[in-house]
Each structure stands twice: as structure tokens, then as C-alpha cells.
Symmetry: C2
Subunit: 320 residues, 2 copies
């Protein structure tokens, strides 16, 4: 959530010369997305996002993200494309970093979604899953069950510095998920991070879905569970809002839908979703100085969600 790599005006003007997208007239570093540097730029032709990829995104994987967003945009979804230069190149180098010029989409990220907005987000997720039915590339999920085990191990005893007993709770949850994780549900390329931050809305309509840098191949219904966990609670993980959860699922069902097997497994998938964000937040928490200017997100907000799903009946979450 900062600009890590500074690009001078002169470098940016030269960069824009590679494209047929007009002359630069404004550029502002923006606080957005995962650990990339982003500029909102304006040219004589319109607005664009310029992204420089920092350490979290592997340059070798950019062609995957590029193909994925092209695939979705070609099917008419509101997904910002990585634009090609005059020679068709979508992935460039700028200020020593891999860089892409990306379409700008209007819209706002809601903080307190309404049921109508949760429904629209569910519909967008369904649209994406439907559109990805014939997408042939794949990318492993480094944050799957095996990845959570690794991350828990790397955090180690420090988990208890966040909250007494957290290490044991995580260990017990990993064991439970090992025993219950579904092995035969359909997989697909999924967004895997569809928080309200990554959905642009105008009123109750989705105007864009952004930030595909966690997209990977995994259980498709897990994406629904991630989205459910991200949209249906207060920010601190308290107060499940049944109206948001059910609207989200209704929207998804309208455009794509969950099978009975996926519905029965839903609480298990949701527990896995919560553990994934609990662990990445815990790692960031333990490795971010308290006085740094990036906001440390509370890992326990996802422990609270996890405990909710551990008690929940599938029927109350997704009608079966």
C-alpha cells in the first residue's frame, strides 16, 4: 500500500512513447493493491494504471496473469486488461522492474456492503467461474493446505506472541483440515482474493474486478468460501451478517452455482479460507515493524471468522 519504486516524469513520458495511448498529462502514485507500485496516470487519450511489480509478484508468472485477464475481458467481463505496446508487448521493464500499462476502470470499493452489493459480487464471481470453464492455463496455489502447514511452521512459537494459545489453535485446525479437506471437488483457475477491496462498484453494480495476483488453480468452491468469509462479517471478524452471506451465495447461484457436494463441504472450505488469511496476516504482523506506515491487518479477525464456520451448519450458510 505504497509506492516502492519511484518513476520520474521523464522516465514515464519515455515509457508512454512505446504505446499508442496518447501523451502523458498527469501521474500520481497511488496506495493500492498488493506489494506493487501503482501510478494512476492520465494521457491525452484517457486514464490508465501503471503497475511496477515488486518482490511479491514473480515476473515469470506475469504471462499467466496477462492471459487470464485477457481471457476474462474477451468474454465481456469488466476486468482491466494489460495493454500492449505498438509491438503488442504487454510486459515491459521500467525503472528496473517488470511493468504493465493497465486499463483504468471507474468504481469504488465498499467498506460496508449492502445485501444488493454482496449479491452483485456473488454474481461477478459466478460470471468469472463460468468464463474460466475453457481457460487452459494453470498456476499452483502456494497458499493451499500444504502451504498453510509451511507458513504455520515458519511462524512457529511466535504465533503465541500475537495471542496466547494461537499456535496450538492453528495446529489443531491444520490437523482437522488434513482429516476433512475435500479431495474430489471440481478445480478451476480462481481469483482467490475477492475481498471488497478488489471489487469496484458503482452503486449496486460491479464495474470492475481487480488484483488477480493471487489467482491460481484450486477447488473452485473454495473461491466462493474465500469471498463469503471476506464479505459477510464486520471487519474485525465479529457479527456474521446472514443477509450478506445469503445474498452473495444467491448471486453466485444465479450465474454459476454450487453442487450439493460443494454445499456440504462449504464450512470446511470456509475454515480453510479463514486459516489462509489468518496465517498470511500473522506472518505479516510478525514481520512488519509496528511503526511502519503500512497497516498491519489483524490476524485474529480471521480466527473469529474461523470459529464461526467451525460452529456453523452448512444449511445455514448455503441452502442445500
Amino acid at each position: 500500500m505504497a509506492v516502492y519504486t519511484h518513476v520520474s516524469t521523464e522516465e514515464m513520458i519515455a515509457f508512454l512513447h512505446r504505446y499508442d495511448h496518447g501523451t502523458l498529462i498527469s501521474a500520481k502514485g497511488i496506495a493500492e493493491g498488493v506489494e506493487n507500485s501503482n501510478y494512476l496516470i492520465e494521457t491525452s487519450d484517457g486514464r490508465y494504471i501503471l503497475t511496477l511489480y515488486e518482490k511479491r509478484v514473480n515476473a515469470d508468472e506475469l504471462p499467466f496473469f496477462c492471459a487470464l485477464t485477457d481471457h476474462l475481458a474477451n468474454k465481456g467481463l469488466n476486468i482491466p486488461r494489460m495493454l500492449g505496446d505498438r509491438r503488442g508487448e504487454q510486459i515491459q521493464t521500467l525503472a528496473g522492474r517488470p511493468a504493465c500499462l493497465i486499463e483504468f476502470l471507474s468504481g469504488l470499493s465498499v467498506t460496508h456492503p449492502t445485501p444488493a452489493q454482496a449479491r452483485a459480487a456473488g454474481e461477478s464471481l459466478g460470471d468469472m467461474h463460468r468464463a474460466l470453464g475453457d481457460f487452459r492455463l494453470s498456476r499452483g496455489n502456494s497458499l493451499d493446505l500444504a502451504g498453510w502447514h509451511e507458513l504455520a511452521e515458519r511462524c512457529g512459537d511466535d504465533l503465541d506472541r500475537i495471542d496466547a494459545g494461537l499456535g496450538a489453535r492453528v495446529g489443531a485446525e491444520l490437523a482437522w483440515l488434513d482429516a476433512h479437506w475435500p479431495r474430489d471437488l471440481p478445480t478451476s483457475v480462481i481469483h482467490a482474493d475477492l475481498f471488497p477491496d478488489n471489487v469496484l462498484m458503482l452503486g449496486d453494480e460491479v464495474s470492475g474486478v481487480i488484483d488477480f495476483y493471487f489467482a491460481c488453480t484450486d477447488i473452485r468452491a473454495w473461491d466462493v468460501a474465500v469471498t463469503h468469509a471476506a464479505w459477510s462479517f464486520e471487519n474485525d471478524g465479529t457479527g456474521y451478517h446472514a443477509d450478506l452471506g445469503s445474498s452473495l451465495i444467491a448471486g453466485y447461484d444465479r450465474q454459476f452455482g454450487l453442487s450439493t457436494e460443494e454445499r456440504l463441504a462449504f464450512p470446511i472450505l470456509a475454515r480453510g479460507a479463514c486459516l489462509r488469511f489468518l496465517l498470511t496476516r500473522a506472518w505479516d504482523w510478525l514481520n512488519t515493524p509496528a511503526d511502519a506506515l503500512v497497516t498491519r491487518k489483524d490476524p485474529l479477525a480471521f480466527l473469529r471468522r474461523l470459529e464461526f464456520y467451525a460452529e456453523a451448519d452448512p444449511e445455514t450458510l448455503v441452502s442445500i
Copy 2:
């Protein structure tokens, strides 16, 4: 250079309802300016900057900055206005902070100015000084010679942690400035921080001057000296570019001009300008954790400029 106060989409939509400037369709936190939080927002009517004032700007002084930018904009200068709401109120409260909706101006801040750009910046400074001839408000400069003494004292022995001998050099310079600082040059409200960052350009034309939050009443020619020090060197303070310096002064002379007394005092004023930025950068350097996400600017870049001006003949800087 970060967003310190987060404003939710819902709060921002409600805030925009106070104004006749359209419906919100996009908002991005931007990394810009002094220690304020800034959002670049887009409504159905156009683009705006939303600024929330953090600790460095005293809310009681906002009416001064408001009157100053109105005065300059009313005289036709490209200065972004703080916009009034439906009741004419320009200063609001948002997320517990004083906040203003401000005009957006296109343009880019150059990193390596050309002589033509330095000349245009000098002209803009001259235009401002001319326009401020009948501006009747005043604001003390807390970063004047007395302020530099205070700041040097607060930094104390820690100056030598930045560079061995820096404390003694600063002490000697303060004594020299006490003995030589001009006492009878004309004063005016001045910008006092006209770095390339604060000048928006389109090609060789100035499209906007921004960030008036250091504006104060002080020796008018000191503003020219600050601008000369800010525009005429490499970023690290080496390599005085005589063509940039002389173009800047020529531009200023064209629109307003320096008197003989001001020209003769120019190297002294420039030494004071360098000491002011040396000391504020030193203070920030000593009080910013090395791993923080804000860039610490090198105080020694202004010691190098200072040593240049200490050796320089007024004639080489400003023809007399």
C-alpha cells in the same frame, strides 16, 4: 508521502453530498505532498483532490491558505482552489480531520528540469510575487533564522550521527548568518517551498503551482533563493547547473525582478535557504526509522548546495 487517514467509500460519498460537484465514481489514495492524506477522486463532474490535514498543518491556519489560494486563483494564476460546499464552506471535517475538496490540475513534476522549464518556474514565481503585492494577510515563518537556531538545538549532538562535524558546521553557519542576514529587504507572503515537486508542468509550460502549506511572510527574495537552490542542482546537491540557475532568474526578472540590494544579498539568502532544508531534513532523518516506507531525504544534499553558495560570487548567480 502516504495516506495516513483512511476514508471509507461510504464516508466519501456522504462528504461529496455537501457539494455541487457531482456523484463519486472513483477514489484513489495518492502519495503526495507534505504530511497530509490525499485522495484523487473522480465524480460525474470531473476530478478533484480531497485533502485531510494531518499533524503538520494547523487547522487554525487553513483560512490563511484558503484566502491565499483564492487570491492567486482570482488573479488568473494556475493555483488549485479549495472549493466551497453548497453553503460556501471551504473547510470541512471528515474522518475526524480538517478536510478540503480542492481543484485538480493536470501536469507533471519534472525531476530533471530543462532551462526552458526552469525559466517557466521563475516566471511563475514572479507572477505569484506580483499577484501577492496586494494580499493583506500574513503568517509568521516558523522556519526563519530564529527557527533554524531552535531546530539546530533540538537536533543537538545527533547532527554528528548524520555526518562527522555537521554540528560544528551548522553552528558556524548560524553564527555567520546572524552576522550577515539582511534586515531591510522587502517582505511579502511567499511560497517558501517551490521545489519541482510543487510545480506541475505540461511540456515547458507551468500548468499549476501546488502545496502552499509552508507559505508565510518573509523576505521576498528569499523565496527566489529557495527556488534557485531547489531547481539548479543535481538531486544530491552536486553539479550546479548555471543554465538552470540563470534561466530561473531570467524568468523571475521578466515577470517581477530583483532589486540591486536583493541581488547583492542573494548568496546570503541562498545559504539560509540551504540551511533551512538541511535542518528540516536532518530532523526528519533523525526521527524517521530507517525501515519506514517514507523516503528519508538526504540532509547533506543541502550542505553541498550551501558550500556552493558560500563560495559563489553574487554576479555569477544573478547578474547585477
